[in-house]
Symmetry: C2
Subunit: 444 residues, 2 copies
């Protein structure tokens, strides 16, 4: 793999040295007997000077090359003066077009335009493959690539074990309506909504486990925060309680802000985004769900027991100086059955939602999981899961409560949401290369 990147040529190759160079034409300026090609790849931009006298019969083909075409250039590295500043150019000996650009789509994928603006959403999603190379879109995906890696690094450094959960499963966290199902060898099977069932088993082997995995929700939401298919960070920890878990979640978020501000500098600059790790510094204020409802009821009626919607969450973070906010002890009616009941108030569970300020709303949650078999069966009945068929489906999960399962709990975070939040993007779809949104065709 000897191919050289543009950044290598800019930084490492000596002047006068011969180079072989690959890239895409970004601009072409035609001064009759001389052409200036601006070539780009993911690492930088370089000017290639092509003279008619040197290139002879190939000049005509190169003259008509369209922006977006892939080219191979050989030549020598030189300096030239541009408005008093020294710049680097390649004086070309050969130019070969290796991939023609023949499309008429506008704006041109490699051009500067507000790719995340709503008015381009339809165009960009319908032509997703073409617009991945847009400089701002590419910066987002590059940031995401580093983000996923830094997450793995965080957990590996902190002695967590990575678990690959199955995608096909019979165990659902929520109801069947919000799950995708299909026929597998004559049996009904679902796409995983959450891997808590498998991670809880794995703590018997490793105490501290995590997964970064696709999760699927068949939700009919057109909000800027929901995808049918998204990347789910799940963590499960033995011997842990709500305080341990909130502390860990805060540490994850803060550490990622610090790390991404370092390793994502270039991408943030391209996006014109600024990331201030101090904004993510723990500890975060915490209120109970009951207190949240009291605050909200001062301004208008809110029905106790429901999920707090996005606008209300934004209102709450505003009243806490736009800080991150924990809302803890959620009504059991609003939460999934594996969450532990609060012994001090049996209408609530030992769970807390992590709310980001500035309208980004919920980005994660923590919960103690049920440890006793009787409590689990009670909660399953409450959620309509006590048929013998359901008891059979969740058998292995129930059985863990007889297998030396210690008190434990977990964290769930939508990492697309967090990446979006760190970059302050208008929509969560932008952080996945091929987002699956409700109401859109699945292609590509």
């Amino acid at each position: 793999m000897k191919k050289i990147f543009i950044s290598n040529i800019l930084e490492s190759v000596q002047l006068q040295q011969q180079v072989e160079l690959f890239g895409w034409v970004k601009h072409i300026r035609n001064h009759n007997s001389i052409l200036f090609l601006d070539l780009v790849d993911s690492t930088g931009k370089i000017q290639v000077t092509v003279s008619k006298s040197r290139l002879k019969k190939h000049f005509e083909k190169v003259k008509d090359v369209r922006p977006g075409s892939a080219v191979r250039v050989t030549g020598h590295k030189h300096n030239f003066n541009n408005k008093g500043r020294k710049n680097i150019e390649i004086v070309a000996e050969t130019v070969g077009v290796l991939g023609d650009y023949n499309l008429k789509i506008t704006p041109h994928p490699r051009s500067k335009f507000h790719v995340f603006d709503e008015k381009y959403t339809d165009l960009v999603l319908k032509n997703r493959s073409l617009y991945l190379c847009n400089p701002k879109q590419a910066a987002v995906l590059s940031f995401k690539s580093k983000f996923v890696f830094e997450l793995h690094k965080y957990f590996q450094e902190n002695k967590f074990t990575f678990i690959e959960p199955p995608i096909l499963t019979e165990m659902l966290l929520y109801d069947d309506k919000t799950a995708f199902h299909f026929d597998y060898e004559g049996n009904k099977v679902w796409l995983s909504q959450c891997c808590t069932f498998q991670l809880e088993a794995a703590i018997l082997a490793f105490e501290k486990v995590y997964s970064i995995t696709p999760s699927f929700r068949s939700e009919h939401s057109r909000s800027d925060r929901h995808l049918n298919e998204y990347t789910h960070l799940k963590v499960e920890v033995a011997w842990s309680n709500l305080n341990d878990l909130s502390e860990l979640a805060e540490n994850i978020l803060y550490s990622m802000a610090i790390r991404m501000n370092e390793v994502g500098k270039k991408e943030l600059k391209i996006l014109g985004a600024s990331l201030h790790p101090d904004d993510y510094k723990p500890p975060y204020p915490s209120i109970t769900y009951d207190e949240a409802v009291r605050i909200l009821n001062k301004k208008g009626h809110f029905a106790y027991g429901k999920s707090l919607g996005r606008s209300r969450l934004t209102e709450l973070t505003k009243s806490f100086d736009n800080k991150h906010l924990w809302i803890k002890f959620i009504p059991r009616s609003a939460e999934a059955f594996p969450f532990s009941i609060n012994p001090a108030n049996k209408n609530l569970v030992l769970a807390a939602d992590l709310i980001a300020p500035y309208d980004f709303a919920e980005i994660g949650g923590v919960a103690e999981k049920i440890h006793s078999k009787d409590e689990l069966l009670e909660r399953m009945a409450e959620k309509g899961r006590s048929s013998s068929k359901n008891i059979e489906r969740y058998k292995s999960y129930i059985e863990l409560r007889d297998a030396g399962l210690p008190p434990h709990g977990g964290i769930g975070m939508g990492i697309d949401r967090i990446a979006r939040y760190l970059m302050k993007l208008p929509h969560v779809k932008d952080v996945l290369p091929f987002p699956r949104l409700f109401g859109r065709r699945w292609n590509p």
Copy 2:
């Protein structure tokens, strides 16, 4: 998260110091007024000494605790002599059972037995959640956790961008029969067999991309090498040819052997497995498919044009001193449509399979991908994909050939197969916590 691991107590805590300790009971020896509990977690084993006089009324409960139960112990760290060697024990002040073990399954999950032996396969898979904590099974999963991380690290260090492909897709690499499909909002949609279609688009943005992602194959195979759901490593590189790609694949495998021999030392020791990185050192010998058939035909008839089966691959690696072996220029009839036709012999494609010795058979492959639109349409017709509906399904993929797509190619590797091979395990299922095998229930 102040919880202390057993390894920390063994290594870092001072003698006489008070400790709080969590773990699972592995063995219990009852000497009437004194109990010896062997406690384990994922980091080690420690002896806890419990005297009746000190524990008083709790002693009776602790005495009857069953191996596998989760306990909390407080006490002090001491030395004791065992056959002339100094050992560490905790002299307990309190012992609390936090998670009872009430199951009658045998062999006990935490006991030593040949967990990978075929005679236990059915038992272990039916009770998968319980047997993850078996010491050898846990060592395999811990090795796999590190393996996935080291793969990410390799690619990030080498400036590849991680791409998260969609799982739901309309674009299939192979035929519909080997894909899982279901209804998505009234439309037929498939689970991804391969993300080449998305990675090829991403090279327009990043030149060098990779993915580590679930892939799905509805194959009716009961071999020790096939899963319906597995972890797929896919790499795609702009400006690359078959030589570049083989070299890169060899480098990946060799680098992983070196890294895993370092970071997986502890796990390999538990498994009694030895890993010799020198065995993986490139370059690997390479023969053409035609030469392979000639070698095989000396020993018996082999029908030209078909996939070489496992026993034949093993025979071939044997005749090359049990080295890794490339088999290149595969018949186009045997390969998927995105692979480039060999201009020197149009019945062959520019693809090569990487064969591991000792009956582990194929562990990966490399291929140049089709770069011209006409060639792609020809190959699609050949594979029965030229209906207008199919042209629509693959529209975005075809269109890339008009979007400045350069010559390029990719690598595909089953990372479960490679992890299995490095550890020399009898079956690929053992490297996934919840493997999905043909003919098995999907639960858990």
